[in-house]
């Protein structure tokens, strides 16, 4: 990272963590959703700092612009929360999630200590000919079969969801 991007990274990382913490601690689901959008944005900003502009834009387009709007849609249509209804679920949950967090942190830390120096190198060197071109070349030239398989999988789940939703209508 250059001298400019390090402080920027720290700012966005702090905002992202703040958003994530606020998201899990709010009792109002709409507020949680908004903090999640904030976190998604900070992650997109970090992608930009890593020269992955395409990934950043797709992150905003798909997660912030599409999926989270549908989340909000669902939250609106379910029963509004009664104030004071949210309960503290006790120590077991905290213990479990803390344990999982530690395991995740260890795994990531080990990975970066072992293999990062080689992979990180110079990210901008990977981008000869532009970000979007690189992604599409890789996707459509070398991984076309997995790509198409995933899209069929999504199609199947979509049809399944429609069939479940319209059960009993004689469709």
């Amino acid at each position: 990272m250059t001298e400019v991007s390090l402080p920027l990274f720290l700012v966005f990382a702090a905002v992202g963590v703040f958003g994530a913490v606020m998201m899990v601690t709010r009792t109002q689901p709409v507020h949680s959703a908004l903090y999640l959008v904030l976190t998604l944005f900070s992650v997109a900003a970090i992608y930009v700092l890593l020269h992955a502009e395409f990934l950043a834009v797709v992150q905003i387009l798909v997660y912030a612009g599409g999926i989270m709007v549908l989340f909000l849609f669902v939250i609106f249509l379910v029963r509004p929360p009664v104030p004071g209804e949210a309960r503290w679920h006790g120590g077991r949950h905290v213990l479990l999630s803390a344990g999982l967090a530690v395991i995740l942190a260890c795994a990531l830390g080990w990975h970066f200590l072992e293999s990062a120096p080689a992979a990180a190198g110079n990210p901008s060197a990977l981008l000869e000919g532009g970000n979007m071109e690189q992604v599409s070349m890789t996707l459509f030239r070398y991984y076309i079969l997995p790509f198409e398989t995933v899209s069929i999988l999504l199609l199947v789940s979509m049809i399944g969801a429609i069939a479940l939703a319209r059960k009993g209508e004689g469709v």
Binding site: V30, H31, V57, L61, V69, L72, F76, L77
Partner: protein, 379 residues
């Protein structure tokens, strides 16, 4: 370091300030133009009292909105109610960063700022804030965030009408984003780049606007007319304008998502709507109508005729001419926008959905296929 600071910080700041200032002025007079044009179409006079033929009416409106009391419903979620107009405004303004307003850049010689004696080195100032190689995707991504403003405004107002309006807007904007994206794919294939500057340059290289791309060399067989139609219809729906203004349908929902808004917050929502209209017109002009290229571009013998009105200014003259042509195109597209409002009645909700999903999306897919086929045939 100093040069970099000026090039990457001071110049963009000034550009952003200039764009915001000019665009807000444009919105004010777009509203007046809308009222005047629709009045003309309905054989009325429109605003006449403030200034000559109502020319100062927008200023009076702004002063009124600034001075109005800010009413927040008692049961509203105060914070979300406050931030939703801001969430609407920011994406609308942020999208202007990638728009190329004219092709030639301005050369600014070295000069010294008086009083503080600060030496500014020679600079090249472009008409765009940033030329991203993913410019078009950036536009799609950022403009898709505007829907949060509408949805949250409706929810936070805690009113049935607002809520209905915002639910409609969420469904409508998500549905019409798909044909909007599909209509752009053909342009991306033709240009081979997603940079908006690159798209206009590709049209310059091809010798015609993408709208008049004739793959078989036959005049009037212009597949991109379908693309323009798809994009325009989807953009009208995305900006919630008539005949797709269901989120604020005043005959059924009072004012839809902004029923509970007044004063400056209402003004922000209004501004965002008109900024999005200008943005849609700019994107149409850049993608299909050749951006800053003159209107005679592509006609044999006339291509270079109106390239520079002010030849004695050199490069700056060409830049100003380019800006003029883009502004003219945007003005015409916006006029069509307003014309639609005066002509068509509002769609019913189920009609809106079936138009989007059963007509526009299949048309968009077919349009991509046909364009690809033509490109292959041409080799």
């Amino acid at each position: 370091m100093k040069e970099q600071l000026i090039q990457y910080l001071a110049v963009p700041m000034l550009q952003i300030a200039a764009i915001i200032g000019v665009m807000l002025l444009c919105v004010m007079y777009l509203v007046l133009w809308e009222r005047k044009l629709i009045a003309f179409m309905q054989v009325r006079m429109g605003p006449m009292r403030v200034g000559y033929h109502g020319l100062l009416q927008p200023i009076a409106d702004v002063v009124k909105l600034l001075l109005k009391e800010d009413v927040v419903p008692k049961a509203a979620d105060r914070w979300v109610h406050l931030i939703s107009p801001i969430i609407l405004m920011i994406p609308a303004l942020a999208c202007f960063a990638v728009i190329p307003f004219t092709g030639t850049s301005f050369e600014v010689g070295a000069f010294t700022i008086p009083l503080v004696n600060y030496d500014v080195p020679a600079l090249t100032v472009t008409s765009w804030v940033a030329d991203l190689n993913i410019g078009l995707l950036y536009f799609l991504a950022i403009s898709s965030l505007g829907v949060y403003g509408l949805v949250l405004a409706g929810w936070s107002s805690n009113s049935k009408y607002s809520m209905l309006g915002s639910l409609r807007s969420a469904a409508q904007m998500i549905s019409y984003e798909v044909p909007l994206g599909l209509s752009i794919v053909a342009i991306l294939m033709l240009s081979g780049t997603a940079s908006l500057v690159g798209i206009v340059e590709a049209q310059q290289e091809a010798g015609h606007w993408w709208l008049f791309w004739a793959p078989l060399g036959v005049p009037l067989l212009w597949p991109q007319f379908i693309g323009l139609f798809l994009y325009f219809v989807a953009a009208v729906a995305e900006t919630n304008r008539a005949p797709f203004d269901l989120p604020e349908a005043e005959t059924e929902l009072v004012a839809g998502f902004h029923t509970e808004y007044s004063g400056m917050k209402f003004a922000f929502m209004f501004l965002a709507e008109y900024l999005n209209m200008i943005l849609a017109a700019l994107i149409v002009s850049v993608l299909f109508l050749g951006g800053w290229l003159p209107v005679t571009f592509g006609i044999p013998g006339l291509s270079e005729l109106f390239g520079n009105f002010l030849p004695f200014l050199g490069g700056a003259g060409a830049a100003i001419t380019g800006f003029f042509w883009l502004a003219l195109k945007v003005f015409l597209v916006l006029t069509v926008y307003l014309w639609l409002r005066a002509t068509f009645p509002r769609y019913r909700y189920d009609q809106l959905m079936s138009l989007g999903w059963k007509w526009l999306i299949p048309m968009g897919l077919a349009h991509v296929m046909v364009t690809a086929l033509f490109m292959l045939l041409r080799g």
